[in-house]
Symmetry: C2
Subunit: 207 residues, 2 copies
């Protein structure tokens, strides 16, 4: 079987196993790609979308958005070819020496400082946070201060300490979001959500 046939068959299995469950247009592809990446159907219940988030994200990506990740692993998982074809790019400042020094000097996490650096970037910004709750908390503060206005926040860190609370900060707020409520998530989930948005843009709008 060719890779594209395996993917098609996988999505057919996921759709069949979701049974009666339906999702709004656009959100469906995101939910299914996350399940495809994790084989974990819990995401059918835990993924929360702000109204219109997927459409807003597609618009940002179509106009050449910068995707900001909080791990190099998520950065590695984003389909850079698809992103570049749309005039976008992906960045991660976690391995940046200046970020590490600033974090050490201030006694905060590199992830938090990396969000401050990213907030200074021009153009539409999509934040894809799959690891560090401190990144999500700092991002929430930066938004509240008016320092950044993300086109989308993908908030899917995984973990047992401060993770659930950091994700809940965004629920019901004004910033467009896709949040995996609860403990689960990860860099792979963050990348899968970015890719799901990219692929539906490419498939539907012929980019």
């Amino acid at each position: 079987m060719r890779p594209q046939d395996i993917e098609k068959r996988s999505f057919a299995i996921i759709t069949a196993e979701l049974g009666e469950r339906t999702f709004p247009d656009g959100e469906s592809e995101v939910v299914k790609r996350v399940i495809h990446t994790t084989a974990d159907f819990d995401y059918a219940d835990s993924l929360a979308f702000s109204p219109g988030a997927v459409g807003q994200a597609r618009e940002a990506l179509a106009s050449g958005a910068t995707v900001v990740t909080d791990t190099n692993m998520a950065l590695a998982g984003v389909n850079k070819g698809a992103l570049q074809a749309l005039g976008g790019r992906a960045v991660c400042y976690m391995a940046d020496g200046a970020v590490a020094r600033a974090a050490g000097a201030r006694g905060v996490t590199r992830a938090a400082v990396s969000m401050e650096y990213a907030a200074l970037l021009d153009g539409p910004l999509i934040f894809a946070v799959g690891n560090a709750p401190t990144a999500l908390i700092r991002l929430h503060e930066l938004i509240a201060e008016g320092a950044v206005s993300p086109a989308l926040v993908i908030g899917v860190p995984v973990g047992f300490v401060n993770v659930v609370e950091a994700k809940e900060l965004f629920i019901g707020g004004q910033t467009p979001y896709i949040i995996a409520r609860g403990r689960k998530g990860g860099s792979n989930v963050a990348a899968a959500i970015v890719n799901a948005l990219l692929y539906q843009l490419i498939e539907r709008e012929g980019f």
Copy 2:
């Protein structure tokens, strides 16, 4: 809370929630780190270890093993600092131009060809397959042909087509293995297992 305190607290929560469940020495750290990476307790049941696999892996890593991954995402997730401190390295041939050309010419996956390339490497080899069942199947063939004798196969691809079967090929076999039975797994799980082995070597044996 400092990152190391968050990790300690997370592992305490995982240990508490595992309750009465116990695991052999060495395997316990692997199981807990995978749960730490995924927040998914299913791995307490699905991870299968060949007898002595963890000890054999620690020995290989202590003598400067090469870790071969089937995705750049898993490669990004492996703690290269810890690996290099032990004289090891991590490689992934998925983005190699020659691999892509050979795969295209032969009508097989790049993942399968990347295993053939890796099989030619010297020194102890740890294969960490978190994505492609075809990598695992080709690796199984190469072992049967005597072309490679891995110190450990971490077989944790995720998915819905051919994945369960590819992983089962190794269960009960002669090659040391850590396999996530069933559909679940991923590049993040593959990297977490490598890191769990690295950290226990560093903590216990003072590397």
